[in-house]
Amino acid sequence: MCGAPTQTMTLPPGVDLAKETVLAGRVVAGDTGVGGAFVRLLDASGEFTAEVVSSATGDFRFFAGPGSWTVRALHCSGSGSAVVTADRPGLHPVDVAVA
């Protein structure tokens, strides 16, 4: 949808972390990154907001806004979710364990 870019930990040039609220992390199983997982961002009410596919190393990234978000990962090896509260713009790390 709208051409989700390849997911990497390196932010695209021009992204101003003083203005953007970035949620970024990895889908992991144990210590291993899980690539090819569908990673969904749900808003504070649990509604779908966006989806990306994790990179080969399990990385994903969303540009959201301040608030409480749930990141849900679905993969053939399992699923999992994590809640992240972003109280201000900046980089907010969040990893999602799938099992």
């Binding site: 949808m1 709208c2 989700a4 870019p5 695209p12 021009g14 992204v15 101003d16 203005k19 953007e20 609220t21 961002l41 808003d43 009410s45 509604e47 779908f48 907001t49 966006a50 989806e51 990306v52 990234r61 969303f62 540009f63 959201a64 806004g65 608030g67 679905l74």
Partner: protein
Amino acid sequence: MEDAIGVKNLVDVRSPDEFAGRILAPAHLPQEQAQRPGHIPTALNVPWSKAANEDGTFRSDDELRALYAAEGLDESRPTIAYCRIGERLSHTWFVLHELLGYSDVKNYDGSWTEYGSLVGVPIELGDGKG
């Protein structure tokens, strides 16, 4: 589009936070955009994803009909769907036109990127329908 306000069903299929104006783009994209935030007055917010099950399949016809009815879609009126750049609305167009069989369903291809850039058009902020 202004002529359709209050006359046709306007279905905003973006996420609730985009509809309300809290974010300006789907959340895999940077949020700095040229448009104003918000939605077209009288638009219903039915995110395209509500028409799908978690595994990506479409919900049943009965569930879909109930979903749009509960949000206030008037089956006797023509419908225009919009999103940000016209991709997500195609999912909802397919549901309304092909699955539910409503005959007069159109895509607003300019969507929010056009409407939110126009000068002098009415725009609403917030979650409420109005």
